[in-house]
Symmetry: C2
Subunit: 170 residues, 2 copies
């Protein structure tokens, strides 16, 4: 199980913090360098591929802009771990291939600690062996994450067995 | 603006209450008559097309079964009004064409009162004229509700202009 460094944020992180309005015209390459800069100015510069975000509830409230989860994904964030999400953010995040783990104990995680993600059992594993349970993630959403998002998943399926594309896969 | 009768439920209504596990093999025709029976035994019998549910936060927690919002839709529920939803339920509900309004003041609504739904302004309108603001719903989700769900929306679009089907519509 690979290890993931934790960035610890607070509750009610809104989409404007992830994809600031001032840069929305620039495309994801221009937005991502400003991701979370109002809360953690060093984030976009120092985040490494595979890092995870642990946060409080209501993650992703605010406008429905798909660039918010896309910016995290673009920067290499492997997952967000939080007790609850905005419904729209939850939808958009999996669509762009960003894994969200709904974890009641997410706020016990600390800045800078390393955790493993056990996706078979849906648990966050701490260095001391403690395991934090997460709510189940349906297979079709995990498939979307593995494929890199809904669009890529549909491309794969259209390329192989078109008849398998049905609403349950989106 | 048509009026909608309110069924008032509490917080953290889970999907098992909407689509009880014991009936899951029966298909939606067999599940819907048992929708919410553990909380409101009269619900499935007395709910009328166009009624709405007002509830507390965390609506739709629990398993990701798509039959939960589908049962409400099947019974004619026009919308759910709640301060927050499970991310999975939010995704599934719009996929089956069920409108969810995210309304911080949802819990001020009372059992049996009649409300209007102003979908242009995203407000719940009470008989005394009070308006409860709801969070914005993106156009592509409203289109899904109007079409009767994602599958029907995709059918419509494939039938007319296939090239317009893109990830943002799901």
């Amino acid at each position: 199980m690979s290890l993931h460094r934790v960035w610890r944020l607070g509750a009610d992180i809104d989409t404007d913090a992830m994809a600031p309005g001032a840069y929305m015209k620039l495309g994801i390459e221009g937005i991502a360098p400003h991701c979370l800069e109002s809360l953690r100015p060093e984030f976009a510069r120092e985040v490494r591929a595979g890092d995870v975000i642990a946060a409080g509830g209501g993650f992703g409230i605010g406008s429905s802009r798909e660039q918010a989860p896309a910016a995290l994904k673009h920067l290499g964030v492997a997952a967000v771990i939080a007790p609850s999400y905005s419904g729209l953010f939850f939808r958009n995040a999996f669509n762009v291939g960003l894994l969200l783990l709904t974890c009641p104990q997410a706020e016990s995680l600390r800045e800078g600690e390393s955790v493993g993600l056990d996706l078979d059992r849906l648990q966050v594993v701490r260095a001391d062996g403690q395991r934090l349970a997460c709510e189940p993630v349906p297979d079709f959403l995990l498939a979307m994450v593995r494929a890199g998002g809904l669009f890529k998943l549909l491309q794969q399926r259209f390329a192989s067995t078109p008849s398998q594309v049905s609403p349950e896969h989106s």
